[in-house]
Symmetry: C5
Subunit: 385 residues, 5 copies
């Protein structure tokens, strides 16, 4: 049944939240931490399943390419002209992550966090690198059996390692989230080409935060629609949809809150990985995260208010139904009683033999009805139907 | 239909909030930050579309004028007698902002914030200037098809740059928000003439904060009206209006909260741009922002209480309807039954042949009715109709 | 109409809150700050409209008097024997405040705050004096057309300047709020005579805070009354009264919260204006303000609980009404149907000719009625009427 | 009436809270602070009305006794063998408190706080002593007219002065709250005998905190009972009881919260009045207070959930009533209509003369009834009765 | 009765919470603190009732065994090859705890906390050891009389002492919670073998925190189920189950919150008991606790939303019932009235003699019915049944 399917869909979304608990940790409680034992059990992934590409650039030169033999590539030194090297890995694999871990000497638990794609956004400061976990937001359209359902919120984890000259990014899913940045890199004279990997990190943070705005817009539009529906025609489905929006706004907040801290942390980074000239840009991103948090809070309040509005609309509808019932009953019950009286079979009922008995009774019917109608008009129950 | 229009209007207000998300960021996620690339694509605006005026003043002299050739004006030095120069730009244009940016050497992102008119109120401390973004509140009256609707809250962004001797203001829309300040400047001997640009900044903050009070008054009056209506005659429309007031108070709070921080930040500014003698004035403005925040909180609580009041009024109305139905039914149903009994066609019904049968039945009718009425009086259902 | 009047009265109270916004600022946004320009436009007030009195005292001497010529009085030095001078101004006037401002050299904005009687309680530390704004609470009885209404919360602003040897107080309204202090001053040997103006300030803070307790008691009693009414006989008026109590408790909290900070601030004053021996007394006042805040919070929670209680009482009442209707209908509708059956005019209805047909039908009536009554008894609907 | 009495009782409890405001301050606002003027107006209390006892002890010796002549006792020095002297005063009197104040030189306001028995739990650090105010919790059983009512929460104030070798305790009411401590003191070799007055203070704090647990257990049991009643048989009385539990839990929290701070304050005491070896014990008490606070918070949440449960139970009951009414009406109203049709007296009604007319109508009755029953079964209204 | 049993079961769970108050303290208020007096009253436990085992290990060697003679074992020194000794005690006994206390010289109150198994998770820093109390979560399945009930949350206390080379663990109940750790220890070359007791402590914290995830998953699934049921078929039982989930989530939060602090405290431990190389691992555990806390908060919000959904479902059901009643009554009451009119026995009712009177009345019946149906269709009451 169609209705059931939509519920199931709504349940799916809930798991969208609880998924964080399902894969956010090792498979079995008490299992070994770290990534070596997972990587050791595996061989290199099949060609094509993991895409690794690199961009070496400086203000004047740029070179891009795909990496097929990772070990060979990592062993070669950075070309002398290159100011920044950016390696991007998408659709990752424990074996590949372990290769990077061995070469760039990052911590086995950090490698594990890259693999387990349900981390909270956060930043960690290591001696020779900065580790950043982000969540990129997406809206997934969802048409079930011809019914236009509200779209679903989906998130993708992005892990970033910032070294002195190298920046490595790991994407959860294929698809190019960094396309606009890549295009800017190709254009000579751009600010991004003249700056170090810190500015590249900023550009990524900025892209991730900017991705939140269309999502917010979507929920703003949804709330507007729901408000109009609630006021005009509150079907039982409305509350379910308000409930879903609330739940997804809660999820959104859980993702954006730590992002705010994260950007602030990168902004205040003191090891010199972030240039002084990059800081104002990070501050700008920080302002955006605050703005997003505030908009989410507003939306949550509006959603709460909609629940009240809906409940009151239901009450008003009940009132209307009751009014109709009461008016109908109150008008006709006395009339029926009078008709019943003159349907009695007593031998001695003088009225029955009267010539004008029947018209007089009809007169009473009319008078009583008018009286009741007047009474209900005074109560204001009829005008407002 | 009129009703629909009012809902659409209410939806409009919601977008009034979500607009913050719609234009508060660059058009496409991942787009280039900064203003140069926008300005570069444009030529100077048509004459008249952007109004730029200046006031140079000291305790003894004052000179005002409109600027037509901006570059020429900016290249000329400040007259030696002038203690303060105030340049005001209204209805701004990326090209013009970029001209100012090049001359006054402020950051490209700051220039972008001036252009994107949905920033949160905030202050930023740069080496040689202070950057302040404010939101000026306004109430827009809104008469749709002869129906007096509640007025809408509108906001306008004002950006201020405070340099050692120069203060530049950018207004989002034309119309003179600074008129009272301009008048005071014209009057010799005024405190504002004797003080530097810090005091001018104070005068502007004070004007912006003072503009909040009439808005608050408006919402106070609205709440009073809604309270009276809720208690006297709670139509379904009331909750919608309460909902709107809540939403606008939430927006108001989101605007005033950062204003409080902002004023405190300017008050604590340590680079000497604010004179010691100006500080008590800023403190006064700070007290006003706290007062506004507290009044908003009170109003929010009152609005919440009104929702409860409305819900209870609806319940009471339902009770009243039910009482009428119950009284009518309970009185007439037994009577109708008795009439039905004596309408039966049994051959042997001794009562039917009795001479006084019919009057006795009428007696029963009267007694039963009185009994029910007494019963309901005791229950307190009739007296309180 | 009487009912309307009470609503209007309730609206009045709301303005009691919004009044803070109506007079808490200058008349027109953007108007000139400070008091000189107001005072300059005025001449000295008429004799008698502003009452100014003074008390000079030391441990051994005391001298009191009314001041008519203020300038002359202020020019005379303090008598050598006097340890403390206390000047009290009631029913103030801009001209008089300006006279004090000129003589005691306090800030023009401070003078303005004395005049605009809707400041938040606060304390400000200046180089040579301490400025304290307090709010004194009062309950105003309010009998409208013989209806005993709940009393109204009213507040009065008191401004205090504490100099080395002089303490100046400005009262908003005439009437002697300081009478008990004045009496203690008259008694030789009292602690207040032996201590400086800091102790006098303490005595005033203590008086203001102590004035809160009868107000709290009033609301405690009101809540008790409302609780009994809600449980015994919840009329629609109850929720309005609960709503009013909530609103006034919110106002109360808004006034007492800053008082707590204020007393703490005076307690921690470091410029030596408060003696070491006076500090324990201030700490005592501080404890009282905390106690008041906690009691207000309790009362707010109780008031919230009362709303729930009321709503549930309304629901229970509805249930009761529904039960009566259901019992009446369910008992008589089947009976009426049976009577209807035997009122049909079919030619061949064998029962009609039976001798015992009519009594048997009566038997059915009785059996059916008993059955329904039993059914409702089992449901527990009858016992609990 | 019994019901009224229970309400009155419930009102009594509310005053149990507001009592804090009734006696927590001097009788008249603006009255003289301190205790001397109260004590001066009184003579020594009658013998027997105030019980004062002392215990002098060291690791090896112990001596206990009652004090009749207080001044004489206080003038005698502590015996040289005694490590600690503990004086306990129960049922106190201003005159006696003043005697202690004069001898131990504590502050007049502190003495006043001992007398006014509605202080918040708190600790104050003086130069030569520590002053601690505690509230001991008690449950008072309350049987009104044979109705088992919920017991009442009662509190008693205990004030403690900790000097170098002397510890003085003032109890609000007679009755020995310290009995277990006294017993432990009598046993040689106990840790309490080997330690100083700081450990004695710990033992007292521990006793007071431990007294909270049975009270919490009581409310836990009450909540369990209320939950079962709410689910099984929600009478209107339940919400009143939930309301009372909420109110008392709020009171409980108001008492325990400052206790937590108090214990922490004593734990961090730096003047050496608390031995290093006593600190771990105080930390243990601190852990207990945190546990109590957390349990109270849980209980408050459970009580809130019970209100929801009750409201939903009331709604379900209403639904059930409505179902019965709807089923009865919907089944019989159409039948009655048909009976009415054939009760009409038209001359030409062919059905009336048909031989099988009457049985066919009965057939229709049966079919219609079965149809309605089937309809309601499908709606799920009958199965779930 | 089955239903009652389930309530009793639900009550049991509540005691599951209040149990914390029942055994979280000494049996009688005011009783002696510490463990010696309890241990002194007991002899050594029977063989077999308390299981004590040990593991000595270094990177190269490992030796495990059960301890029968505890005193003898404790007196023997650690073998020189052993880097770490781990002693595990399950099903503890005051006598045994006291033996450990005497040998390892920990505080008597700490020993008491090991025994009283309802402590909050916390960590305490002593001079020569670290004391950690944890709560291990478990779900207990609960099938009462064939009814599948929701499983119960159960917790077990684990106490850990960390010395320089020795780590002692006390389990509340038998059963091996440490099995995965033990297995890892047996495998040579594992990281756990190369590190000190600090890493072993980490492994334990990690195991305890990892145990939370399946519990969270359980509640996530439960909430999904409840959401589907609420939307499809809201029986009165649903709210009870939501209430239970809320209560258990509150309990969960009360347990996990202090765990977060605890892990942070161990992470920041400065006495060198935690290696630098172990810290990143603890940080990882800390991230997990934050994630758990956030998921619990989400679940609590979802549960709150479900209450709203349920309430609205109940209201909608009521609306549906009312609609049926109103439609049935409104259609048939006027018809019955008309039938009643022509059942009257007036002598002069011209219609009765008309040939086409009866068919015309039937026409009226049909027209009226169609009119009402149309009316209700327009109101939207029929289409949406």
């Amino acid at each position: 049944m169609n209705k059931k399917n939509r519920f199931r869909d709504s349940a799916l979304r809930l798991s969208g939240i609880s998924r964080l608990s399902k894969h956010g940790h090792r498979v079995k409680p008490g299992e070994l931490p770290g990534i070596e034992h997972i990587a050791a059990a595996l061989t290199a992934p099949e060609a094509g399943s993991v895409a690794i590409s690199y961009i070496d650039y400086s203000a004047s030169h740029i070179e891009t390419g795909d990496i097929t033999n990772l070990d060979a590539f990592l062993d070669k030194p950075l070309p002398s002209w290159a100011a920044v090297r950016w390696i991007n890995v998408s659709n990752m694999h424990p074996y590949v992550i372990n290769q990077f871990r061995q070469h760039f000497e990052f911590h086995t638990l950090t490698a594990e966090d890259v693999l387990h794609v349900t981390q909270r956004p956060r930043v960690e400061n290591f001696d020779d690198h900065l580790f950043v976990v982000l969540r990129m937001l997406k809206l997934v359209q969802h048409d079930a059996e011809g019914v236009a359902t509200d779209s679903l919120l989906d998130t993708e984890q992005v892990s970033i390692f910032l070294y002195d000259k190298v920046l490595i990014t790991f994407q959860e899913k294929p698809g190019d989230v960094w396309q606009p940045i890549r295009e800017r890199l190709q254009t000579e004279g751009m600010r991004i080409r003249k700056n170090g990997p810190g500015y590249l990190l900023y550009a990524m943070l900025d892209a991730v935060v900017d991705h939140c705005f269309p999502v917010l817009e979507h929920y703003g539009d949804l709330l507007e629609d729901l408000e109009i529906i609630t006021l005009e025609n509150p079907s039982p489905d409305v509350l379910r949809r308000i409930h879903c929006v609330k739940r997804e706004l809660a999820l959104l907040r859980r993702i954006v809150w730590p992002m705010r801290e994260l950007v602030d942390h990168v902004y205040r980074e003191e090891e010199g990985r972030i240039n002084e000239s990059t800081r104002p840009y990070l501050r700008d991103v920080y302002e955006h995260t605050i703005q997003i948090v505030e908009i989410i809070e507003s939306y949550r309040e509006i959603a709460s208010g909609l629940t009240d509005l809906y409940m009151s609309a239901v009450s008003n509808r009940m009132n209307e139904i009751m009014k109709v019932l009461t008016i109908m009953s109150s008008v006709f019950i006395p009339l029926t009683f009078i008709a019943g009286v003159y349907g009695m079979n007593f031998k001695f009922m003088p009225e029955l033999s009267l010539r004008w008995g029947y018209p007089v009774v009809w007169g009473m019917f009319v008078v009583l009805t008018l009286g009741m109608v007047l009474f209900f008009k005074r109560k204001g129950w009829i005008d407002r139907r």
